[in-house]
């Protein structure tokens, strides 16, 4: 997969990505995607903003806004945390690896 473009997230047809700030990615563990992991989006102060459950392919997706965010994932196989900074509307990919 080296050099392959990152896979765009699966978005509802009416979503305008020039206006939406989409933070998305895959949760994985030992190289395999993790379904049914609980991914939280925390705001700049660390406060809970939203939570989703990963799909069968380990995908998650949030509609946020430009700014600094933290992703926090919980699953019975492990946890992970990552900071992301969205400068403007558009797609922001963040892979999350459980450890």
């Amino acid at each position: 997969m080296c050099g392959a473009p990152p896979q765009a997230p699966d978005l509802p047809a009416h979503v305008d990505i020039t206006k939406e700030t989409v933070i998305y990615g895959v949760v994985s563990h030992d190289g395999a995607p993790v379904p049914a992991a609980y991914v939280r989006l925390l705001d700049e102060t660390g406060e809970f903003t939203a939570e989703v459950v990963t799909s069968a392919t380990g995908d998650y997706r949030f509609f946020a806004a430009p700014g600094k965010w933290t992703l926090s994932v919980l699953h019975r196989d492990g946890a992970a945390r990552k900071d992301v900074h969205a400068l403007e509307p558009g797609l922001v990919e963040a892979a999350l690896v459980l450890s």
């Binding site: 939406e20 809970f48 939570e51 459950v53 509609f63 806004a65």
Partner: protein
Amino acid sequence: MSRADVLVSADWAEENLDAPGVVFVEVDEDTSAYDGGHIAGAVKLDWKTDLQDQVRRDFVTKAQFEALLSEKGIGNDDTVVLYGGNNNWFAAYAYWYFKLYGHDKVQLLDGGRKKWELDGRELSKDTVSRPATTYTAKDQDTSIRAFRDEVLDAIGNKNLVDVRSPDEFSGKLLAPAHLPQEQSQRGGHIPGALNVPWSKAANEDGTFKSDKDLTDLYVGEAGLDDSKDTIAYCRIGERSSHTWFALHELLGQQNVKNYDGSWTEYGSLVGVPIEKDV
């Protein structure tokens, strides 16, 4: 009323899956979650198609609610144990809704689907059918449901608790961040509302915090005046049902209402005051 009357643990649920007179009911925002695996024996309620009028913005009528519960095989004497995803948002909404129509014995499964899954407990894909009943509902108990005029009158007089995330409260976001942000309503909050995000009432596994922690949160930290009536709201009334449950059912506060019109109604009203911080 005590915590044990309104909340059951996952352990209790697992031991009572087949108990007579106990009906497990799953209610989710993602209505396909049930089909991918549910607690054995649980029936499904779809908050959008089963609990909302399909033309006007309102709940189903008493007669429709009676028909729904009869068809699902839920009787008046049954103990209904509700659970679901999103940290029980829609299960709490259904809990409030069952109370609205006067069902006596309703409980929430503490932690909902999330704790059940994190614990690695069993889910079933079996089709569930229960023999039909003849359910009788009561008239809506509007002592727990707030409408918009009452909310406007409450500004400066009652506790208004906005349970959305801080970024929705400030107006930076217009919807919870798992939903697209392009929305028709204005951003911000009702003037004077306290912002106590629903999530502060829950632990990370989705279970409710202790009564002491909840009291510290609402009365101590947030400054809720418990000598006044309270109206909770969010975007569409599901997260505020979670807070209504914490205040009214767990802490036993009187005169707490849920405003199900919430921000999608208030933020669309012509001429009402809005506070916006961004």
